[in-house]
Symmetry: C2
Subunit: 427 residues, 2 copies
């Protein structure tokens, strides 16, 4: 029976039952961290070959004869660009491989936009009293931090199963030249696991923007991170922007953090020829070169685009049972209660769970007291404020299946306990 349909005495009875379950779980004295979307050690082990693929001095010379141990060649290695070009959806010359962190590239990009603006800008973003940035919610906390930290006003827009609420996005962009950008994780979004529909991509690419330097920060972090053979289709944002005569609107970010090593991968930026020239000019001031040895390791390890896809199937085989356990446990435990909603993603790293309104903080605390660390509640909203206090991001990848089973049971019990407390407090 749904909690909403229960009488007071039924609720109290259920509360006693769930409290007893919670106490039992507490006694297990678990210590499980599900706070971040980290690959498991078994996933890292898939890339072992990368450690030794360059082992001799002669291995350090790239296809074009570049000594990757030395300075120079900030444009990055062509063999690596060719492998990832079809995945990123840009010609090799429209791609720059950089260091290990795509987040760092995004920070640098927003930071430089504050200092200098883009080539088409009227003035640097920092010269406005305050610029605005659109944040589809729930979303990725570290994206929001960057723009919050640099002083932008964050405008929350609902994330729908088709992507950001485009009616709202278009309305915001149309008349306000201080609306300068939008954060997007277009495929298997963090945390919902939604993939933007064709219509959403086309509308983003073609919508009218009062700011001629409006930028789509297209963080395609999970573009080949499918759990099943069939991948969610996603239109190519660079092509759509070009068709819509807004070729420089999208800045595409990508990394191998969840392909090879989360801490030692290669991050890429891609865009129109103008965008790539802009980034190259900025990089020329900032660095002599990024780590080309690590770029070369990646190129030699994968050799072809096809092998990257094969590699991702091995990740899927490790991740799929975990995601299915999360969704199955949620169904078994919460379907009958009627207060919770969640998605069943076909890729990515997260399951997004909405518990009863105004109970997520309590669920987080209850989980913590039973040894399960979740992502900070509210983190998926601008400034850490979930207006309905209901969204919980589940990151099933890093723990073992046995741990995950325990953690999910604790989460479900905590969600029920918090819901029951809430319902009874109003009566």
């Amino acid at each position: 029976m749904y909690y909403s349909q229960m009488t007071d005495s039924q609720l109290k009875e259920e509360l006693e039952r769930v409290r007893a379950q919670y106490k039992q779980k507490q006694e297990l004295k678990l210590k499980l961290d599900m706070s971040r979307g980290k690959p498991a050690p078994e996933q890292s082990a898939l890339s072992k070959g990368i450690l030794t693929v360059i082992s001799e001095d002669s291995d350090c010379i790239s296809r074009e004869g570049i000594d990757c141990r030395n300075y120079g060649f900030p444009k990055g290695l062509i063999e690596l660009k060719e492998i990832f070009a079809p995945i990123i959806g840009a010609d090799p010359e429209q791609i720059i491989p950089c260091g290990n962190s795509s987040l760092n590239l995004m920070y640098d990009c927003v930071s430089d936009a504050y200092h200098f603006g883009f080539p088409e800008s009227d003035k640097p973003w920092g010269k406005y009293e305050r610029i605005k940035f659109i944040c589809p919610c729930p979303g990725y906390d570290r994206h929001f931090f960057i723009t919050q930290n640099l002083g932008a006003e964050l405008i929350a827009v609902d994330m729908l199963p088709t992507g950001p609420d485009m009616d709202k996005v278009e309305e915001l962009c149309k008349n306000d030249p201080t609306v300068k950008g939008i954060w997007c994780v277009p495929k298997y979004s963090n945390p919902d696991g939604y993939t933007y529909s064709d219509e959403t991509v086309k509308r983003l690419a073609s919508m009218e923007c009062a700011a001629k330097d409006f930028k789509i920060f297209w963080d395609n972090a999970y573009c080949i991170h499918d759990l099943y053979d069939e991948s969610d289709p996603l239109l190519n944002i660079l092509e759509e922007c070009k068709k819509a005569n807004n070729p420089d609107r999208a800045l595409v970010f990508f990394s191998t953090s969840k392909i090879t090593y989360a801490g030692g991968g290669v991050a890429f930026v891609a865009g129109s020829p103008n965008t790539v020239k802009y980034f190259s000019d900025r990089f020329a001031i900032r660095v002599v070169c990024y780590d080309k040895l690590n770029q070369l390791r990646h190129a030699r390890f994968f050799q072809t685009t096809e092998k990257v896809y094969e590699h991702m199937k091995k990740h899927a085989a490790l991740l799929r049972p975990k995601f299915e356990m999360v969704c199955n446990t949620l169904s078994q435990e919460l379907d009958q209660c009627g207060f919770a909603q969640w998605n069943k993603p076909r890729g990515g790293y997260f399951v997004s769970l909405n518990v009863m309104d105004h109970t997520a903080k309590r669920v987080f605390a209850l989980c913590g007291e039973a040894g399960v660390t979740l992502t900070n509640v509210g983190a998926t909203f601008p400034c850490g404020m979930d207006p309905r206090d209901r969204n919980i991001r589940i990151s099933p990848s890093a723990v073992t299946e046995a741990e995950l089973k325990q953690a999910m049971e604790i989460l479900c019990i905590s969600a029920k306990l918090a819901a029951l407390e809430k319902l009874l407090s109003h009566r």
Copy 2:
């Protein structure tokens, strides 16, 4: 006979002789690049062991149990900090190992100072109409570019054999709160090869600054890059700043770019506890973590501080003959002419040559036409403008000894030719 003492006909005779030499060299059709201070392949080969020192999954776990393949632990590996702490001159907890580029750290630091200022700042540097930055000249072009690019006014101060002209530096800092920093390469300076005297370091640490957020950008890039057994002594800037009650004044930068791999080393930042907290807070917004696998490779390859010093002796053995050939050739060819001055550095990567005033650009062009690429003339001065057009930075490391011999002969002949043309044009 010195050129300055020659009669017109003697000068003309010498011009004919030198022109003939130049033509002979041109016919060799050489193509030699001495534009940047890059290690030679034989130097990179000294670090071959680093390529395979981590080759198994179990190797990827740090002393503290951190899986270096994965996200997290932005403070960096303790085993690496311990090895480099005595070299950097800071306690391990005062050091943060980062990515591959110390230049990138310096850019980020100035950029963030523009956005936010430092904890002790009255306001962000970007909120001043224009801040000023002291640039000891000749100096490192990429330092100057960073502050020029961000809009600072660059103030040239003469580089003396004891370091920057401290009378001038003190005068600039004392009364002007918009003088916010100074670029320093304190040991084996780029390009002069001078090491700051004890007095210079003490004066920098203790001088009165109108800006309470005045920062010494202490790029100790060559701190263990000795050519001879005896190293130039350099006082510890962090200790001197602490003694002078200005503990947060110095920001210390260091990297293994010229110890292991120029393109794939590890860069570090160090400072007071306040400074390290400031950087940690900034990094928390910018990156999930830097490449810990590469940090671990470095720690495992070196194991101890002592082994880093042993490693540097191998670099010295490769570099010393080149530096001696540069200085000997300059002596043989130019001593007798009386118009040129140069240093004889005991470490670092450069020899700084002053040719006859107002001829450096011509020397650069003549070298280029004979196949020798030098660092752009003027690059060692703010905004690329050498007011006397006389400084040439010689980078002997990357070429072979045989090539270097040829290149130095061409450089000396070009310097003579330009001087003779200049002298005769005035008569």
